[in-house]
């Protein structure tokens, strides 16, 4: 994990600029929603307070859950570097998971600072959850969301076992995530039919569901989504395992 942090600091300027970009991204969304509320008190079911809080929370969760180092796995497969890890498959998994944690921890650290600065500068009204039960559920949904995001991203990297074009699917995935995971707007403002359709995909469970839990605490309406999220994480686990095993067989057969 230490190595992971050092690696990141080696690319100081890059890293710094990336953080700056994150801040500006947040500013964009913040101002978008603030201006919506200048003329009205409620946007569908959200007050300004709730929505702004939603944005900050989603930003935090984004850096914790959506940002991932699994992208490197794709590059490793294409370059052949992954062979070094293949001798010990179990520790490869351990390696990428711990690298993941290092990365997430680092990002979280900086995102908290950035959000703190923004709160101090912009002074928005934010909502803090009181219910301790909600926090417990928050942690559970975050873990599930993290698992889902991790496996989906990993599978995207595994495409490298069969094709050189790993950039395109990942890019399209990021477009989908940007809109459908709720980074831009809370998903339940969408029309009911669209929202229900979306609940069948893994997207809402990565960062949207935990945010909802933070904002509203536990409610009966969340039972089904939580259930689906658990199903997705199990399904993705097995899918990832299968893809990995097939991919490795295919890969080694080419004798790189």
């Amino acid at each position: 994990m230490y190595v992971g942090i050092i690696q990141v600091f080696t690319y100081r300027l890059s890293f710094f600029l990336w953080r700056v970009r994150n801040v500006f991204n947040l500013i964009f969304i913040y101002f978008l929603w603030t201006s919506v509320f200048t003329k009205q008190v409620l946007f569908l079911s959200y007050t300004q307070e709730k929505l702004i809080t939603y944005i900050l929370v989603i930003s935090l969760l984004s850096s914790l859950i959506l940002v991932t180092r699994t992208i490197d796995v794709g590059a490793d497969i294409l370059s052949g570097d992954i062979m070094n890890h293949l001798l010990k498959p179990f520790s490869f998994f351990r390696f990428i998971v711990s690298r993941e944690f290092a990365d997430k921890f680092l990002n979280l650290f900086f995102t908290v600072i950035e959000i703190f600065i923004l709160i101090v500068v912009l002074k928005p009204h934010i909502f803090i959850q009181n219910n301790s039960g909600a926090y417990l559920l928050l942690i559970i949904t975050m873990i599930i969301g993290g698992i889902i995001s991790f496996f989906v991203s990993l599978n995207l990297s595994f495409i490298a076992f069969w094709s050189n074009e790993i950039w395109a699917p990942r890019w399209i995935y990021s477009i989908f995530t940007w809109f459908l995971a709720g980074s831009f707007f809370p998903l339940d403002i969408l029309p009911k039919s669209v929202y229900n359709l979306l609940l069948l995909t893994p997207f809402p469970y990565m960062i949207f569901l935990p945010s909802k839990v933070f904002l509203d605490g536990f409610s009966a309406a969340l039972i089904v989504p939580i259930g689906i999220s658990i199903l997705w994480s199990i399904a993705l686990f097995f899918l990832t395992k299968k893809v990995w095993e097939t991919g490795i067989k295919n890969y080694s057969a080419y004798g790189r």
Partner: protein
């Protein structure tokens, strides 16, 4: 043609301290003089070898002469132009070829790059055809120029790069390590080509290389540079005559040396039957030779100059 007086180039190198904060916001720089107070003149139709260890300043000099780098101080004049101004008339008459570096369009056949260079250098159709045919023939590249550059081997790529760089018949060629990374056959091809090219087109060629064979084969004039300063500028053969005090005597023995054999004084000996190599000072040759011829039975004797490489190495150590 090329005139440099008092040329200096200083680089600013950022210093890495352990302090991360300082590194981002308060960077300190160290100054490194890549070349210092260099002066030289090169006329037309010359083939100059420019040698020095890594970081000696040869590439920097070449890049200043071709206008890529901006001199810190000093006077540079090529064909009456100031290179850094990169005037079109100036750039049309030079070519800069770096070994291992690619100027050709990677995914397309070399002919596309040639076409592009034709437009860039404003070569008319007739001259273009003649030059292209000549160069392709000289480099034996007829079947290489129609396939994507990325499919060529390093040696093949170098040949095609040379064609692209010479289509406009530049008056000056700057060659920076043109044979680096090539196998011995490819190296020979390139070096032979350069020699042939210079004789045919009478251009001025300035060549840097690590490989002594390249320099020995091509250059009559040698410029040695170390730590940014010129330590020798003259004819190759003068280098050995002036600076080398050693001669080598190679004796091919008929019979192995007996155990009682006593070598003469003040020599270095390298013995692996049947070859006996004696290195000795020029003045001692007659004495040593006379001594040896009396003591051993031999099949062949040759006397050689100290290898150029050794002379050069010694000079670099000295300066």
């Amino acid at each position: 043609m090329i005139s440099i007086k008092g040329l200096t180039k200083t680089y600013r190198i950022p210093q890495r301290t352990k302090n991360l904060f300082k590194d981002i916001f308060f960077r300190t720089y160290k100054e490194k003089k890549a070349i210092e107070n260099v002066s030289l003149t090169i006329d037309g139709n010359e083939l100059v070898g420019f040698i020095g260890p890594n970081g000696a300043g040869k590439t920097t000099t070449l890049k200043i002469l071709s206008g890529i780098l901006y001199p810190t101080s000093g006077y540079v004049n090529v064909f009456g132009f100031t290179p850094f101004e990169k005037k079109r008339e100036f750039l049309r008459q030079i070519a800069f070829i770096m070994g291992h570096k690619n100027q050709l369009l990677w995914e397309l056949p070399a002919t596309d790059s040639f076409r592009l260079n034709k437009e860039i250098y404003e070569v008319d159709d007739k001259t273009y055809k003649i030059t292209l045919d000549e160069l392709t023939e000289l480099l034996d590249a007829e079947n290489l120029i129609h396939q994507p550059v990325k499919t060529l081997s390093l040696g093949q790529r170098m040949r095609v790069e040379l064609i692209a760089a010479l289509l406009h018949r530049p008056k000056i060629l700057f060659l920076d390590e043109p044979t680096i990374g090539l196998d011995i056959f490819a190296q020979t091809t390139i070096i032979d080509f350069i020699k042939e090219y210079q004789e045919r087109y009478k251009s001025t060629i300035i060549l840097t290389s690590h490989y002594m064979q390249d320099v020995e084969r091509l250059a009559k004039r040698l410029i040695m540079i170390n730590h940014g300063k010129i330590i020798f500028d003259g004819l190759l053969r003068n280098l050995v005559n002036t600076y080398s005090q050693q001669k080598l005597i190679n004796i091919t023995l008929l019979k192995p040396l007996s155990k009682e054999f006593e070598p003469p004084e003040k020599i270095r000996i390298h013995y692996q039957f049947p070859q006996l190599q004696i290195t000795t000072h020029k003045e001692n040759i007659v004495g040593v030779l006379a001594y040896m011829l009396k003591k051993v039975e031999f099949v062949d004797v040759t006397i050689e100059d100290e290898p150029l490489e050794d002379v050069i190495k010694k000079m670099f150590v000295h300066h």
